[in-house]
């Protein structure tokens, strides 16, 4: 029994820390790419839109194996954990940028015009007026993406990171009891998604308090 508890605890903590680190990374990538996608410079918009199409249409499994098994052939090598954080941050970051872009575009035009009329510069308008508005509308879809991120972190198993899914696979080999191994992991995933869902609905309530 101790073996099970230890294994599940380690797997749970790995999935949680991987998801948390990748969420921070995805937020950074998403913010930068999202702002570039609404910049007045056409080449930035088009370039980032094309990159978004490429990233989101490639299966995450392909990105993981390309990054972990492919890149060492051209001299770029990372351990499984940082590799997973990087791949998940880029993949989910581009998806987040897409929701951020539509959030930014939904900001009422009058707000921007008023701010410009008051003499604020383009960047001031973006940072002080548009982003705060957009971030509010983005909280709910970002919560859904965060849950997807936690679930997608299971694909890190393909590059031999022992997170929850890897733990279930290892327990299957060591104990020959696959049913409790996989159901245990499934329950822990449900717990993780519930935690993220609760956190984001609290955040949503907080952000929308003054509406």
């Amino acid at each position: 029994m101790d073996e099970w508890i230890d294994a599940f605890r380690d797997g749970f903590l790995t999935t949680v820390s991987l998801s948390a680190s990748a969420m921070v990374g995805a937020a950074l990538v998403g913010l930068v790419v999202g702002l570039l996608r609404v910049s007045p410079v056409p080449i930035l918009q088009k370039g980032m839109a094309a990159m978004t199409e490429c990233v989101r249409n490639t299966p995450l499994t392909v990105l993981f194996v390309l990054f972990y098994f492919g890149l060492p052939k051209i001299g770029i090598r990372f351990e499984p954990f940082p590799s997973s954080v990087i791949v998940l941050s880029i993949y989910m970051g581009f998806l987040l940028a897409e929701t951020l872009r539509s959030g930014i575009e939904s900001v009422p035009k009058g707000q921007i015009e008023a701010a410009r009329a008051l003499g604020l510069s383009y960047m001031q308008v973006e940072i002080r007026i548009v982003l705060p508005y957009a971030l509010r509308t983005v909280v709910a879809p970002a919560g859904a993406l965060a849950i997807d991120l936690a679930k997608n972190s299971s694909i890190a198993y393909t590059i031999s990171l022992v997170e929850l899914t890897g733990t279930a696979a290892q327990l299957t080999t060591s104990t020959a009891r696959p049913v409790p191994a996989f159901l245990g992991a499934a329950v822990l995933y449900v717990v993780i998604t519930l935690l993220i869902g609760t956190a984001f609905s609290l955040l949503e309530r907080k952000v929308n308090r003054h509406r």
Binding site: I155, T165, V190
Partner: protein, 273 residues
């Protein structure tokens, strides 16, 4: 017209000059970076002809086509079963019988909180120990279905709920039974309204088939790995596979977009209550 031009005011002369300067700077930066990347990749032999010419050999093409067939087969079976189970669960959730609606609710809530990969591995490793012998193809299809059916169920349900209430009232006033109402009035319109979301989710499902790689199912990625390790062109093969998924994904997304533009001009039933 670019997206932000509709959002921002018309650019003045100074801003236009800035945009030109930024474009020039970015273009040169891109060229420099691309040059550096290409030079570095070239140095590592990524562009060597022999590593790409492999894809022109008939045997290699045949080898990859078998993988592609595996992908198509798994995707088609998964799509069929996910759509039908999804439809069934959506009907359960819309049922007026509380217990049935509740079962549908718990099916969706519990199954969609667990990663698709875990479901696939559960089907492949755990079902045999429960006495169900299952091939890697069916483990993949079943695992993909367990997750994607919940998404399709939510799409169908949202579609039905988005229809104007008058549709239901008119059908009931005409003397239709609940079953006829669903079958002839609500579902056809719901599917039409939701076509863009359905297509988008089908792309996700197609991408999910590459998880078959984990349980050794012979699809595109698994075959690609075998080829790449044999021919020493892993990077090239994985890049080619990514390109395949990007082309298919972009094509379906374009189709979905043109459908959703048309759906905006759609019939009375699609208007919100």
């Amino acid at each position: 017209v670019s997206q932000s031009a509709s959002r921002n005011e018309a650019l003045g002369p100074i801003a236009r000059r800035r945009v030109k300067v930024a474009t020039a700077l970015l273009l040169s930066l891109t060229v420099v970076l691309a040059w550096w990347a290409v030079a570095r990749l070239h140095e590592k032999g990524i562009f060597e002809y022999r590593r790409w010419s492999v894809f022109l050999e008939p045997d290699v093409v045949k080898f990859l086509i078998v993988g592609l067939w595996g992908t198509v087969k798994a995707a088609a079976l998964s799509a069929a079963s996910s759509l039908s189970v999804g439809m069934l669960v959506a009907l359960m959730r819309l049922s007026r019988i509380r217990t049935i609606a509740l079962i549908g609710y718990w099916y969706v809530s519990l199954l969609r909180s667990v990663p698709t990969l875990l479901w696939i591995m559960f089907c492949f490793f755990a079902l045999p120990s429960l006495g169900v012998n299952i091939s890697s193809l069916w483990a993949l299809v079943l695992g993909i279905t367990l997750y994607n059916s919940t998404v399709f169920a939510e799409i169908f349900r949202a579609g039905v709920l988005s229809l104007a209430r008058g549709q239901t009232e008119a059908a009931l006033a005409l003397g239709m039974s609940r079953r006829q109402l669903m079958r002839f009035v609500l579902l056809p319109q719901a599917i039409r309204v939701m076509m863009p979301s359905i297509l988008t989710q089908l792309v996700v499902l197609l991408k999910d088939t590459s998880l078959g790689y984990v349980i050794g199912y012979e699809e595109l990625l698994r075959r690609g790995q075998q080829l790449g390790e044999y021919a020493g062109n892993l990077v090239q093969t994985y890049t080619a596979i990514a390109a395949f998924f990007i082309v298919v994904g972009v094509a379906v997304t374009k189709l979905a977009q043109s459908l959703s533009r048309r759906a905006l001009l759609a019939p009375a039933g699609s208007s919100k209550r």
